[in-house]
Protein backbone atom coordinates (compact mmCIF):
# COMPACT_ATOMS: atom_id res chain seq x y z
CA UNK A 1 0.00 0.00 0.00
CA UNK A 2 2.71 2.40 0.99
CA UNK A 3 4.69 1.45 -2.07
CA UNK A 4 1.78 2.33 -4.35
CA UNK A 5 1.34 5.76 -2.74
CA UNK A 6 5.04 6.43 -2.92
CA UNK A 7 5.11 5.33 -6.52
CA UNK A 8 2.27 7.61 -7.54
CA UNK A 9 4.22 10.52 -6.16
CA UNK A 10 7.15 9.52 -8.30
CA UNK A 11 9.57 9.55 -5.40
CA UNK A 12 10.60 5.91 -5.69
CA UNK A 13 11.87 3.87 -8.62
CA UNK A 14 9.28 1.45 -10.02
CA UNK A 15 9.31 -1.97 -8.35
CA UNK A 16 11.64 -4.40 -10.04
CA UNK A 17 9.80 -7.59 -9.07
CA UNK A 18 7.06 -7.31 -11.72
CA UNK A 19 9.28 -7.25 -14.83
CA UNK A 20 11.30 -10.18 -13.56
CA UNK A 21 8.12 -12.20 -13.06
CA UNK A 22 6.80 -11.77 -16.59
CA UNK A 23 10.08 -11.74 -18.45
CA UNK A 24 12.18 -14.77 -19.18
CA UNK A 25 15.77 -14.91 -17.96
CA UNK A 26 18.41 -13.92 -20.50
CA UNK A 27 19.60 -17.46 -21.25
CA UNK A 28 16.00 -18.63 -21.86
CA UNK A 29 15.37 -15.79 -24.27
CA UNK A 30 18.59 -16.48 -26.07
CA UNK A 31 18.03 -20.26 -26.34
CA UNK A 32 14.42 -19.96 -27.52
CA UNK A 33 15.29 -17.34 -30.11
CA UNK A 34 18.15 -19.50 -31.38
CA UNK A 35 15.92 -22.59 -31.61
CA UNK A 36 13.21 -20.62 -33.45
CA UNK A 37 15.71 -19.11 -35.87
CA UNK A 38 17.38 -22.46 -36.57
CA UNK A 39 14.03 -24.11 -37.23
CA UNK A 40 13.01 -21.29 -39.59
CA UNK A 41 16.42 -21.49 -41.27
CA UNK A 42 16.21 -25.24 -41.91
CA UNK A 43 12.55 -25.48 -42.84
CA UNK A 44 11.83 -22.16 -44.56
CA UNK A 45 14.99 -20.33 -45.64
CA UNK A 46 16.92 -23.31 -47.03
CA UNK A 47 14.16 -24.50 -49.43
CA UNK A 48 13.73 -20.97 -50.75
CA UNK A 49 17.47 -20.49 -51.19
CA UNK A 50 17.77 -23.91 -52.87
CA UNK A 51 15.29 -22.91 -55.58
CA UNK A 52 17.39 -19.94 -56.72
CA UNK A 53 20.75 -21.68 -56.28
CA UNK A 54 19.68 -24.65 -58.38
CA UNK A 55 18.09 -22.42 -61.01
CA UNK A 56 21.35 -20.48 -61.49
CA UNK A 57 23.65 -23.51 -61.19
CA UNK A 58 24.62 -23.36 -64.87
CA UNK A 59 24.66 -19.59 -65.10
CA UNK A 60 22.34 -16.84 -66.16
CA UNK A 61 22.31 -17.94 -69.81
CA UNK A 62 20.91 -21.40 -69.03
CA UNK A 63 18.41 -19.80 -66.67
CA UNK A 64 16.95 -17.47 -69.27
CA UNK A 65 17.04 -20.18 -71.96
CA UNK A 66 14.86 -22.36 -69.71
CA UNK A 67 12.45 -19.54 -68.94
CA UNK A 68 12.15 -18.56 -72.62
CA UNK A 69 11.57 -22.11 -73.84
CA UNK A 70 8.27 -22.24 -75.85
CA UNK A 71 6.80 -24.94 -73.58
CA UNK A 72 7.66 -22.84 -70.52
CA UNK A 73 6.02 -19.78 -72.06
CA UNK A 74 2.93 -21.83 -72.94
CA UNK A 75 2.73 -23.01 -69.33
CA UNK A 76 3.05 -19.43 -68.05
CA UNK A 77 0.22 -18.37 -70.37
CA UNK A 78 -2.03 -21.20 -69.24
CA UNK A 79 -1.36 -20.42 -65.57
CA UNK A 80 -2.27 -16.76 -66.21
CA UNK A 81 -5.48 -17.81 -68.00
CA UNK A 82 -6.54 -20.19 -65.20
CA UNK A 83 -5.86 -17.64 -62.47
CA UNK A 84 -7.34 -14.87 -64.63
CA UNK A 85 -10.69 -16.66 -64.68
CA UNK A 86 -10.73 -18.35 -61.27
CA UNK A 87 -9.70 -15.33 -59.19
CA UNK A 88 -12.27 -12.80 -60.56
CA UNK A 89 -15.01 -15.46 -60.35
CA UNK A 90 -14.19 -16.10 -56.70
CA UNK A 91 -13.98 -12.36 -55.99
CA UNK A 92 -17.54 -11.86 -57.29
CA UNK A 93 -18.67 -14.85 -55.27
CA UNK A 94 -16.80 -13.70 -52.15
CA UNK A 95 -18.38 -10.24 -52.26
CA UNK A 96 -21.89 -11.63 -52.89
CA UNK A 97 -21.56 -14.24 -50.13
CA UNK A 98 -20.22 -11.78 -47.56
CA UNK A 99 -22.95 -9.24 -48.44
CA UNK A 100 -25.65 -11.90 -47.89
CA UNK A 101 -24.07 -13.28 -44.71
CA UNK A 102 -22.90 -10.06 -43.04
CA UNK A 103 -25.83 -7.75 -43.86
CA UNK A 104 -28.85 -10.02 -43.41
CA UNK A 105 -30.30 -12.54 -40.99
CA UNK A 106 -31.51 -15.85 -42.36
CA UNK A 107 -31.78 -19.47 -41.28
CA UNK A 108 -28.91 -21.81 -42.04
CA UNK A 109 -26.31 -19.05 -42.03
CA UNK A 110 -23.72 -20.99 -40.04
CA UNK A 111 -24.26 -24.04 -42.26
CA UNK A 112 -23.63 -21.87 -45.32
CA UNK A 113 -20.42 -20.49 -43.77
CA UNK A 114 -19.20 -24.03 -43.09
CA UNK A 115 -20.03 -25.14 -46.65
CA UNK A 116 -18.01 -22.22 -48.05
CA UNK A 117 -14.95 -23.51 -46.14
CA UNK A 118 -15.44 -27.03 -47.47
CA UNK A 119 -12.86 -26.89 -50.32
CA UNK A 120 -10.12 -26.20 -47.73
CA UNK A 121 -10.88 -29.56 -46.12
CA UNK A 122 -10.73 -31.53 -49.36
CA UNK A 123 -7.42 -33.00 -50.57
CA UNK A 124 -6.24 -31.34 -53.82
CA UNK A 125 -6.17 -34.72 -55.54
CA UNK A 126 -9.82 -35.34 -54.66
CA UNK A 127 -10.68 -31.82 -55.86
CA UNK A 128 -9.45 -32.86 -59.29
CA UNK A 129 -11.05 -36.30 -59.14
CA UNK A 130 -14.59 -35.00 -58.57
CA UNK A 131 -14.45 -32.99 -61.81
CA UNK A 132 -13.29 -36.11 -63.65
CA UNK A 133 -16.34 -37.89 -62.23
CA UNK A 134 -18.67 -35.14 -63.51
CA UNK A 135 -17.11 -34.23 -66.86
CA UNK A 136 -14.81 -37.18 -67.68
CA UNK A 137 -15.55 -39.65 -70.46
CA UNK A 138 -17.29 -42.00 -68.00
CA UNK A 139 -18.74 -39.14 -65.95
CA UNK A 140 -22.24 -37.69 -65.71
CA UNK A 141 -21.91 -35.34 -68.67
CA UNK A 142 -19.13 -37.26 -70.41
CA UNK A 143 -21.34 -38.77 -73.10
CA UNK A 144 -23.11 -35.51 -73.90
CA UNK A 145 -19.81 -33.59 -74.06
CA UNK A 146 -18.27 -36.21 -76.39
CA UNK A 147 -21.29 -36.02 -78.72
CA UNK A 148 -20.88 -32.28 -79.02
CA UNK A 149 -17.12 -32.58 -79.37
CA UNK A 150 -16.46 -30.58 -76.20
CA UNK A 151 -13.55 -31.33 -73.92
CA UNK A 152 -13.47 -30.33 -70.27
CA UNK A 153 -11.19 -32.92 -68.69
CA UNK A 154 -7.61 -33.03 -70.08
CA UNK A 155 -8.33 -29.54 -71.45
CA UNK A 156 -8.30 -25.92 -70.28
CA UNK A 157 -11.91 -25.79 -68.89
CA UNK A 158 -11.13 -28.61 -66.46
CA UNK A 159 -8.02 -26.80 -65.24
CA UNK A 160 -10.03 -23.62 -64.69
CA UNK A 161 -12.78 -25.50 -62.81
CA UNK A 162 -10.32 -27.33 -60.54
CA UNK A 163 -8.46 -24.07 -59.83
CA UNK A 164 -11.75 -22.32 -59.02
CA UNK A 165 -12.73 -25.09 -56.60
CA UNK A 166 -9.37 -25.01 -54.81
CA UNK A 167 -9.38 -21.21 -54.36
CA UNK A 168 -13.13 -20.97 -53.69
CA UNK A 169 -13.09 -19.87 -50.00
CA UNK A 170 -10.20 -17.38 -50.00
CA UNK A 171 -11.98 -14.08 -50.68
CA UNK A 172 -15.24 -14.94 -48.88
CA UNK A 173 -13.27 -16.03 -45.82
CA UNK A 174 -11.49 -12.65 -45.55
CA UNK A 175 -14.58 -10.54 -46.24
CA UNK A 176 -17.24 -12.24 -44.07
CA UNK A 177 -15.64 -11.51 -40.66
CA UNK A 178 -14.51 -8.06 -41.84
CA UNK A 179 -17.98 -6.98 -42.98
CA UNK A 180 -19.57 -8.50 -39.89
CA UNK A 181 -17.28 -6.50 -37.62
CA UNK A 182 -17.92 -3.28 -39.55
CA UNK A 183 -21.70 -3.59 -39.21
CA UNK A 184 -24.19 -1.93 -41.52
CA UNK A 185 -24.65 1.55 -40.00
CA UNK A 186 -22.90 3.38 -42.83
CA UNK A 187 -24.97 1.52 -45.43
CA UNK A 188 -28.20 2.35 -43.56
CA UNK A 189 -27.18 6.00 -43.51
CA UNK A 190 -26.48 6.01 -47.25
CA UNK A 191 -29.81 4.34 -48.09
CA UNK A 192 -31.71 6.67 -45.74
CA UNK A 193 -30.10 9.65 -47.46
CA UNK A 194 -31.44 8.39 -50.78
CA UNK A 195 -28.55 6.47 -52.34
CA UNK A 196 -29.42 3.50 -54.53
CA UNK A 197 -28.27 -0.01 -53.63
CA UNK A 198 -25.39 -0.05 -56.14
CA UNK A 199 -24.31 3.48 -55.18
CA UNK A 200 -24.20 2.38 -51.53
CA UNK A 201 -22.20 -0.68 -52.46
CA UNK A 202 -19.62 1.12 -54.62
CA UNK A 203 -19.29 4.33 -52.61
CA UNK A 204 -19.64 3.03 -49.04
CA UNK A 205 -19.01 -0.71 -48.82
CA UNK A 206 -16.16 -1.14 -51.30
CA UNK A 207 -13.96 1.64 -49.82
CA UNK A 208 -14.49 0.09 -46.38
CA UNK A 209 -13.48 -3.41 -47.39
CA UNK A 210 -10.77 -2.60 -49.96
CA UNK A 211 -7.78 -3.79 -47.89
CA UNK A 212 -9.51 -7.00 -46.85
CA UNK A 213 -10.53 -7.57 -50.45
CA UNK A 214 -6.97 -7.05 -51.70
CA UNK A 215 -5.68 -9.39 -49.00
CA UNK A 216 -8.10 -12.09 -50.13
CA UNK A 217 -7.22 -11.54 -53.79
CA UNK A 218 -3.46 -11.94 -53.36
CA UNK A 219 -3.83 -15.12 -51.30
CA UNK A 220 -6.37 -16.49 -53.77
CA UNK A 221 -4.08 -15.65 -56.69
CA UNK A 222 -1.00 -17.23 -55.10
CA UNK A 223 -2.87 -20.47 -54.57
CA UNK A 224 -4.48 -20.35 -58.05
CA UNK A 225 -1.13 -19.98 -59.80
CA UNK A 226 0.63 -22.53 -57.63
CA UNK A 227 -1.98 -25.28 -57.44
CA UNK A 228 -0.53 -28.66 -58.31
CA UNK A 229 -2.49 -31.72 -57.13
CA UNK A 230 -5.96 -30.81 -58.39
CA UNK A 231 -4.71 -29.50 -61.72
CA UNK A 232 -2.47 -32.53 -62.15
CA UNK A 233 -5.51 -34.86 -62.09
CA UNK A 234 -7.55 -32.97 -64.72
CA UNK A 235 -4.76 -31.74 -67.01
CA UNK A 236 -3.61 -34.81 -68.93
CA UNK A 237 -0.07 -33.33 -69.00
CA UNK A 238 0.02 -32.39 -72.70
CA UNK A 239 3.20 -30.35 -73.23
CA UNK A 240 2.64 -26.83 -74.48
CA UNK A 241 -1.14 -27.31 -74.22
CA UNK A 242 -2.46 -28.36 -70.81
CA UNK A 243 0.60 -27.87 -68.60
CA UNK A 244 0.44 -25.10 -66.03
CA UNK A 245 3.68 -23.83 -64.50
CA UNK A 246 3.74 -26.25 -61.54
CA UNK A 247 3.03 -29.17 -63.90
CA UNK A 248 5.78 -28.02 -66.24
CA UNK A 249 8.16 -27.94 -63.25
CA UNK A 250 7.22 -31.53 -62.45
CA UNK A 251 7.84 -32.76 -66.01
CA UNK A 252 11.22 -31.04 -66.27
CA UNK A 253 12.24 -32.34 -62.86
CA UNK A 254 11.25 -35.92 -63.69
CA UNK A 255 13.29 -35.65 -66.91
CA UNK A 256 16.32 -34.80 -64.74
CA UNK A 257 16.42 -31.35 -66.32
CA UNK A 258 17.01 -29.85 -62.90
CA UNK A 259 18.19 -26.38 -63.97
CA UNK A 260 15.15 -25.79 -66.19
CA UNK A 261 12.78 -27.18 -63.53
CA UNK A 262 14.18 -24.84 -60.88
CA UNK A 263 14.25 -21.91 -63.32
CA UNK A 264 10.49 -22.16 -63.87
CA UNK A 265 10.07 -22.90 -60.15
CA UNK A 266 12.01 -19.72 -59.33
CA UNK A 267 9.32 -17.66 -61.10
CA UNK A 268 6.73 -19.24 -58.80
CA UNK A 269 9.00 -18.63 -55.81
CA UNK A 270 9.27 -14.95 -56.80
CA UNK A 271 5.47 -14.84 -56.92
CA UNK A 272 5.41 -16.32 -53.41
CA UNK A 273 7.88 -13.70 -52.12
CA UNK A 274 5.90 -10.92 -53.78
CA UNK A 275 2.73 -12.28 -52.14
CA UNK A 276 4.37 -12.34 -48.69
CA UNK A 277 5.70 -8.79 -49.04
CA UNK A 278 2.34 -7.44 -50.20
CA UNK A 279 0.59 -9.34 -47.42
CA UNK A 280 2.93 -7.88 -44.78
CA UNK A 281 2.36 -4.42 -46.25
CA UNK A 282 -1.44 -4.77 -46.06
CA UNK A 283 -1.24 -6.04 -42.48
CA UNK A 284 0.95 -3.06 -41.59
CA UNK A 285 -1.53 -0.65 -43.25
CA UNK A 286 -4.40 -2.30 -41.43
CA UNK A 287 -2.63 -2.05 -38.06
CA UNK A 288 -1.74 1.60 -38.75
CA UNK A 289 -5.33 2.50 -39.64
CA UNK A 290 -6.61 0.87 -36.44
CA UNK A 291 -4.18 2.86 -34.34
Amino acid sequence: MAAIVANSLGSQPPPTAAPRATHDPFWVRWTLTAVALLFVLFFLVLPLAAVFTEALRKGVGAYFAAVRDPDAIASIKLTLIAAGIAVPANVVFGVAASWAIAKFHFRGKSLLTTLIDLPFAVSPVISGLIFVLVFGLQGWFGGWLAEHDLKVIFAVPGIVLATTFITFPFVARELIPLMQSQGSDEEYAAITLGASGWQTFWRVTVPNIKWGLLYGIILCNARAMGEFGAVSVVSGHIRGETNTMPLHVEILYNEFNSVAAFAVASLLALLAIFTLVLKAFIEWRHAASRR
Partner: protein
Protein backbone atom coordinates in the same frame (compact mmCIF):
# COMPACT_ATOMS: atom_id res chain seq x y z
CA UNK B 1 -50.69 4.84 -32.65
CA UNK B 2 -47.57 4.10 -30.70
CA UNK B 3 -44.69 5.98 -32.38
CA UNK B 4 -42.21 3.28 -31.37
CA UNK B 5 -43.90 0.81 -33.71
CA UNK B 6 -43.65 2.97 -36.82
CA UNK B 7 -39.97 3.74 -36.26
CA UNK B 8 -38.00 1.94 -39.03
CA UNK B 9 -36.25 -1.14 -37.72
CA UNK B 10 -32.93 -2.15 -39.24
CA UNK B 11 -34.19 -5.30 -40.88
CA UNK B 12 -33.52 -7.08 -44.13
CA UNK B 13 -35.92 -4.66 -45.82
CA UNK B 14 -33.63 -1.65 -45.42
CA UNK B 15 -30.63 -2.84 -47.43
CA UNK B 16 -31.24 -4.14 -50.95
CA UNK B 17 -29.70 -7.14 -52.65
CA UNK B 18 -30.60 -9.97 -50.29
CA UNK B 19 -32.21 -12.14 -52.95
CA UNK B 20 -29.53 -11.41 -55.55
CA UNK B 21 -26.52 -12.00 -53.31
CA UNK B 22 -27.87 -15.10 -51.57
CA UNK B 23 -29.21 -16.55 -54.82
CA UNK B 24 -25.88 -16.10 -56.55
CA UNK B 25 -23.99 -17.50 -53.55
CA UNK B 26 -26.11 -20.66 -53.40
CA UNK B 27 -26.02 -21.24 -57.18
CA UNK B 28 -22.26 -20.78 -57.43
CA UNK B 29 -21.66 -22.92 -54.32
CA UNK B 30 -23.77 -25.72 -55.80
CA UNK B 31 -22.11 -25.68 -59.22
CA UNK B 32 -18.50 -25.42 -58.10
CA UNK B 33 -18.53 -27.34 -54.81
CA UNK B 34 -21.64 -29.29 -53.84
CA UNK B 35 -22.61 -31.05 -57.09
CA UNK B 36 -19.03 -32.21 -57.91
CA UNK B 37 -18.55 -33.45 -54.32
CA UNK B 38 -21.88 -35.29 -54.50
CA UNK B 39 -20.58 -37.05 -57.63
CA UNK B 40 -17.93 -38.83 -55.54
CA UNK B 41 -20.49 -40.16 -53.07
CA UNK B 42 -22.97 -41.19 -55.78
CA UNK B 43 -20.24 -43.00 -57.69
CA UNK B 44 -19.45 -45.22 -54.69
CA UNK B 45 -23.17 -45.74 -54.00
CA UNK B 46 -23.19 -47.76 -57.23
CA UNK B 47 -20.62 -50.18 -55.82
CA UNK B 48 -21.53 -53.31 -53.88
CA UNK B 49 -20.34 -53.50 -50.27
CA UNK B 50 -17.84 -56.23 -51.12
CA UNK B 51 -16.38 -54.20 -54.00
CA UNK B 52 -16.10 -51.14 -51.75
CA UNK B 53 -14.32 -53.01 -48.96
CA UNK B 54 -11.95 -54.65 -51.45
CA UNK B 55 -11.08 -51.21 -52.83
CA UNK B 56 -10.57 -49.39 -49.52
CA UNK B 57 -9.03 -52.16 -47.43
CA UNK B 58 -6.49 -53.92 -49.63
CA UNK B 59 -3.04 -54.30 -48.00
CA UNK B 60 -1.49 -51.62 -50.23
CA UNK B 61 -4.24 -49.12 -49.36
CA UNK B 62 -4.03 -49.96 -45.65
CA UNK B 63 -0.26 -49.35 -45.76
CA UNK B 64 -0.89 -45.90 -47.29
CA UNK B 65 -3.45 -45.00 -44.59
CA UNK B 66 -0.90 -45.98 -41.98
CA UNK B 67 1.84 -43.84 -43.50
CA UNK B 68 -0.40 -40.81 -44.12
CA UNK B 69 -1.83 -40.99 -40.60
CA UNK B 70 1.44 -41.54 -38.74
CA UNK B 71 3.50 -39.05 -40.76
CA UNK B 72 0.78 -36.37 -40.43
CA UNK B 73 0.55 -37.05 -36.70
CA UNK B 74 4.33 -36.79 -36.22
CA UNK B 75 4.53 -33.66 -38.38
CA UNK B 76 1.65 -32.04 -36.46
CA UNK B 77 3.31 -32.75 -33.12
CA UNK B 78 6.68 -31.37 -34.23
CA UNK B 79 4.88 -28.30 -35.64
CA UNK B 80 3.13 -27.77 -32.30
CA UNK B 81 6.44 -27.93 -30.42
CA UNK B 82 8.48 -25.67 -32.70
CA UNK B 83 5.46 -23.57 -33.69
CA UNK B 84 4.93 -22.68 -30.03
CA UNK B 85 8.57 -21.60 -29.70
CA UNK B 86 8.44 -19.58 -32.94
CA UNK B 87 5.16 -17.89 -31.95
CA UNK B 88 6.45 -17.19 -28.44
CA UNK B 89 9.67 -15.64 -29.73
CA UNK B 90 7.79 -13.57 -32.33
CA UNK B 91 5.25 -12.22 -29.81
CA UNK B 92 7.36 -11.82 -26.66
CA UNK B 93 10.87 -10.91 -27.78
CA UNK B 94 12.23 -8.30 -30.08
CA UNK B 95 15.31 -8.99 -32.14
CA UNK B 96 16.69 -7.77 -35.47
CA UNK B 97 14.84 -9.33 -38.42
CA UNK B 98 11.77 -10.25 -36.37
CA UNK B 99 9.36 -8.85 -38.95
CA UNK B 100 11.05 -10.73 -41.78
CA UNK B 101 10.80 -14.01 -39.84
CA UNK B 102 7.17 -13.19 -39.10
CA UNK B 103 6.41 -12.73 -42.80
CA UNK B 104 8.43 -15.81 -43.71
CA UNK B 105 6.26 -18.06 -41.53
CA UNK B 106 3.58 -17.90 -44.24
CA UNK B 107 5.97 -19.19 -46.91
CA UNK B 108 4.43 -22.71 -46.92
CA UNK B 109 1.05 -21.08 -47.73
CA UNK B 110 2.47 -18.95 -50.52
CA UNK B 111 5.06 -21.25 -52.11
CA UNK B 112 3.49 -23.70 -54.59
CA UNK B 113 3.66 -27.21 -53.18
CA UNK B 114 5.49 -28.62 -56.21
CA UNK B 115 8.24 -26.02 -55.77
CA UNK B 116 8.53 -26.84 -52.08
CA UNK B 117 8.64 -30.53 -53.00
CA UNK B 118 11.54 -30.34 -55.43
CA UNK B 119 13.45 -27.89 -53.19
CA UNK B 120 13.13 -30.12 -50.10
CA UNK B 121 14.11 -33.19 -52.14
CA UNK B 122 17.25 -31.43 -53.40
CA UNK B 123 18.24 -30.33 -49.90
CA UNK B 124 17.73 -33.74 -48.28
CA UNK B 125 19.05 -35.90 -51.16
CA UNK B 126 22.41 -37.63 -50.88
CA UNK B 127 24.49 -34.67 -52.05
CA UNK B 128 22.15 -31.95 -50.84
CA UNK B 129 22.93 -29.23 -48.30
CA UNK B 130 21.51 -31.21 -45.39
CA UNK B 131 21.52 -34.73 -46.84
CA UNK B 132 25.30 -34.84 -47.19
CA UNK B 133 25.68 -34.36 -43.40
CA UNK B 134 22.99 -36.91 -42.51
CA UNK B 135 23.83 -39.74 -44.92
CA UNK B 136 27.25 -40.59 -43.39
CA UNK B 137 25.42 -41.18 -40.09
CA UNK B 138 23.05 -43.61 -41.81
CA UNK B 139 20.10 -41.20 -41.77
CA UNK B 140 18.32 -41.22 -45.11
CA UNK B 141 15.61 -38.60 -45.49
CA UNK B 142 14.82 -38.26 -49.19
CA UNK B 143 12.87 -41.22 -50.62
CA UNK B 144 11.97 -42.59 -47.17
CA UNK B 145 9.17 -42.15 -44.63
CA UNK B 146 11.27 -39.44 -42.94
CA UNK B 147 11.08 -37.43 -46.17
CA UNK B 148 7.28 -37.59 -46.06
CA UNK B 149 7.42 -36.36 -42.47
CA UNK B 150 9.78 -33.48 -43.37
CA UNK B 151 7.52 -32.26 -46.21
CA UNK B 152 4.41 -32.43 -43.99
CA UNK B 153 6.19 -30.54 -41.20
CA UNK B 154 7.01 -27.76 -43.67
CA UNK B 155 3.39 -27.57 -44.86
CA UNK B 156 1.87 -27.52 -41.35
CA UNK B 157 4.04 -24.95 -39.55
CA UNK B 158 2.07 -21.75 -40.38
CA UNK B 159 -1.21 -23.28 -39.14
CA UNK B 160 0.20 -23.66 -35.63
CA UNK B 161 2.04 -20.32 -35.50
CA UNK B 162 -0.88 -18.29 -36.90
CA UNK B 163 -3.35 -19.93 -34.52
CA UNK B 164 -1.15 -19.27 -31.48
CA UNK B 165 0.02 -15.71 -32.21
CA UNK B 166 -3.27 -13.84 -31.56
CA UNK B 167 -3.93 -15.86 -28.39
CA UNK B 168 -0.43 -15.14 -27.07
CA UNK B 169 -0.86 -11.45 -27.85
CA UNK B 170 -4.09 -11.27 -25.88
CA UNK B 171 -2.72 -13.16 -22.91
CA UNK B 172 -2.87 -10.65 -20.07
CA UNK B 173 0.43 -10.03 -18.28
CA UNK B 174 -1.53 -9.54 -15.05
CA UNK B 175 -2.14 -13.28 -14.83
CA UNK B 176 1.58 -13.98 -14.98
CA UNK B 177 2.29 -11.20 -12.50
CA UNK B 178 -0.31 -12.64 -10.13
CA UNK B 179 1.26 -16.10 -10.39
CA UNK B 180 4.70 -14.64 -9.73
CA UNK B 181 3.58 -12.50 -6.84
CA UNK B 182 1.98 -15.58 -5.26
CA UNK B 183 5.41 -17.16 -5.31
CA UNK B 184 5.35 -19.30 -8.48
CA UNK B 185 8.61 -19.77 -10.28
CA UNK B 186 8.81 -18.83 -13.96
CA UNK B 187 8.71 -22.50 -14.94
CA UNK B 188 5.67 -23.12 -12.76
CA UNK B 189 3.96 -20.05 -14.24
CA UNK B 190 4.62 -21.43 -17.69
CA UNK B 191 3.36 -24.97 -17.07
CA UNK B 192 0.49 -24.15 -14.70
CA UNK B 193 -0.75 -20.81 -16.03
CA UNK B 194 0.37 -20.07 -19.59
CA UNK B 195 0.21 -23.53 -21.20
CA UNK B 196 -3.32 -24.31 -19.92
CA UNK B 197 -4.43 -20.96 -21.40
CA UNK B 198 -2.91 -21.98 -24.74
CA UNK B 199 -4.31 -25.52 -24.83
CA UNK B 200 -7.36 -24.83 -27.05
CA UNK B 201 -5.21 -22.91 -29.54
CA UNK B 202 -2.51 -25.60 -29.51
CA UNK B 203 -5.12 -28.30 -30.20
CA UNK B 204 -6.71 -26.23 -32.97
CA UNK B 205 -3.33 -25.57 -34.58
CA UNK B 206 -2.47 -29.26 -34.39
CA UNK B 207 -5.82 -30.28 -35.91
CA UNK B 208 -5.43 -27.78 -38.77
CA UNK B 209 -1.87 -28.91 -39.54
CA UNK B 210 -2.87 -32.58 -39.28
CA UNK B 211 -5.90 -32.15 -41.57
CA UNK B 212 -3.84 -30.33 -44.17
CA UNK B 213 -1.09 -32.96 -43.99
CA UNK B 214 -3.54 -35.84 -44.57
CA UNK B 215 -4.54 -34.46 -47.96
CA UNK B 216 -1.20 -32.98 -49.01
CA UNK B 217 0.16 -34.18 -52.34
CA UNK B 218 2.51 -31.79 -54.17
CA UNK B 219 5.26 -31.37 -51.61
CA UNK B 220 5.30 -35.07 -50.73
CA UNK B 221 5.41 -36.91 -54.08
CA UNK B 222 8.87 -35.71 -54.98
CA UNK B 223 10.57 -36.49 -51.66
CA UNK B 224 8.75 -39.73 -50.83
CA UNK B 225 10.05 -41.91 -53.67
CA UNK B 226 6.56 -43.47 -53.96
CA UNK B 227 7.40 -47.09 -53.21
CA UNK B 228 4.27 -49.26 -52.88
CA UNK B 229 3.65 -50.49 -49.32
CA UNK B 230 6.41 -48.24 -47.98
CA UNK B 231 6.29 -44.59 -48.99
CA UNK B 232 2.97 -44.26 -50.80
CA UNK B 233 0.62 -41.67 -49.28
CA UNK B 234 -3.16 -41.93 -49.76
CA UNK B 235 -3.55 -39.08 -52.31
CA UNK B 236 -0.81 -40.66 -54.45
CA UNK B 237 -2.67 -43.98 -54.43
CA UNK B 238 -5.77 -42.19 -55.76
CA UNK B 239 -3.70 -40.79 -58.64
CA UNK B 240 -2.16 -44.22 -59.33
CA UNK B 241 -5.64 -45.81 -59.54
CA UNK B 242 -6.82 -43.02 -61.86
CA UNK B 243 -3.86 -43.59 -64.17
CA UNK B 244 -4.87 -47.25 -64.36
CA UNK B 245 -8.43 -46.13 -65.26
CA UNK B 246 -9.70 -47.67 -62.01
CA UNK B 247 -12.18 -44.83 -61.39
CA UNK B 248 -14.26 -46.82 -58.90
CA UNK B 249 -11.25 -47.80 -56.82
CA UNK B 250 -9.94 -44.22 -56.81
CA UNK B 251 -13.34 -42.81 -55.84
CA UNK B 252 -13.85 -45.34 -53.05
CA UNK B 253 -10.55 -44.31 -51.41
CA UNK B 254 -11.45 -40.66 -51.99
CA UNK B 255 -14.75 -41.13 -50.14
CA UNK B 256 -12.93 -42.63 -47.14
CA UNK B 257 -10.61 -39.60 -47.15
CA UNK B 258 -13.49 -37.15 -47.58
CA UNK B 259 -15.33 -38.62 -44.58
CA UNK B 260 -12.10 -38.35 -42.55
CA UNK B 261 -11.61 -34.70 -43.64
CA UNK B 262 -15.21 -33.76 -42.84
CA UNK B 263 -14.84 -35.27 -39.37
CA UNK B 264 -11.64 -33.22 -38.93
CA UNK B 265 -13.48 -30.09 -40.10
CA UNK B 266 -16.22 -30.73 -37.53
CA UNK B 267 -13.62 -31.28 -34.80
CA UNK B 268 -11.79 -28.07 -35.77
CA UNK B 269 -15.04 -26.07 -35.65
CA UNK B 270 -15.80 -27.44 -32.18
CA UNK B 271 -12.24 -26.69 -31.01
CA UNK B 272 -12.47 -23.13 -32.29
CA UNK B 273 -15.81 -22.61 -30.55
CA UNK B 274 -14.32 -23.96 -27.33
CA UNK B 275 -11.27 -21.76 -27.68
CA UNK B 276 -13.40 -18.66 -28.28
CA UNK B 277 -15.53 -19.36 -25.20
CA UNK B 278 -12.43 -20.16 -23.19
CA UNK B 279 -10.90 -16.78 -23.92
CA UNK B 280 -14.02 -14.73 -23.37
CA UNK B 281 -14.12 -15.82 -19.72
Amino acid sequence: MNPAVTFPQPSRRVLPGFGLSLGFTLTYLSIIVLIPLAAAFLKTAGMSWGEFVAAVASPRVLASYRLSFLASMAAGLVDVFFGLIVAWVLVRYSFPGRRIIDALVDLPFALPTAVAGIALTTIYAKHGWVGRWLEPHGIKVAFTEIGVFVALTFIGLPFVVRTLQPVLMELEPEIEEAAASLGASRWKTLTRVILPELTPALLTGFALAFARALGEYGSVVFISGNMPMRTEIVPLLIITKLEQYDYRGATAIAVVMLVASFLMLLLINLLQKWSRRYHRV
